[in-house]
Symmetry: C2
Subunit: 156 residues, 2 copies
Amino acid sequence: MSPQQARRPGEIAVEHPQASDAWLQYIGRIHTPWQRREDCPRQGDLDGPECQIEVFQPWDQALVGLQTTTPLEVLYWLDQSRRDLVLQCPTGRDHPVGTFALRSPVRPNPMGSSVVRLIAIEGPVLRVRGLDCLDGTPLLDLKPAHSAFIRTHSGG
Amino acid sequence: MSPQQARRPGEIAVEHPQASDAWLQYIGRIHTPWQRREDCPRQGDLDGPECQIEVFQPWDQALVGLQTTTPLEVLYWLDQSRRDLVLQCPTGRDHPVGTFALRSPVRPNPMGSSVVRLIAIEGPVLRVRGLDCLDGTPLLDLKPAHSAFIRTHSGG
């Protein structure tokens, strides 16, 4: 979606300074069944369809020690999203809401986060359930989910 | 921490391509009591010390509709972290583990995520509990935490 696209009534866009304070490297790619934003579920379902997370070299080496028993936090880049809205009118709401009060993909730094169930690790490919993003979404990071971390470590 | 720093035995660094696939804009700054990495708690505590999240203009306009009753997900940039380790030896472990099996700040895209309790919204400043990052950490994003989102919307 480009910033040139029409805004809904009440939505407010700001001049995005395009400042590059930090840079990201895509470390993999996410494969899901959803080709268009309107096909994506509103949020991931841990019993939803299986998706694949492909980790690029050399970062596949960083999968050592990952446990399928631990819920996994996935961070990804919503590369189709505009970045300039401060007020948005999500579908199904009749008044605009601030971007930070929503989990909309339209954000100043359009990052998505999901907690997924890790089904299997097959070399550099993770089979997971719980994602809701578009097919082809660039991967930014993987880590044990916070709640799992608490459970794993609070006993010892 | 710079990539030039000594690695611990068993740690493996890779050539980081420094590819700039996407750019980030700092949209605020996080104020915490911790000035050095070794002072930071291992993970945030929802009853821990109060911290402030300062949101820069024009993004403060995007706070409209944020509820103090909703746990908030905070994404931030760990700007002091090296980015090239695929295997790491965290303190207290005697063997190296893959970066993606850890919540260490050292990661290819060094982003931190925390779920915090929002105590008050005072103009562009959020008072929160539950962070564990260094004072001065750049802010990347704010959104209602996933579990809260489920609770809020599952009834309607």
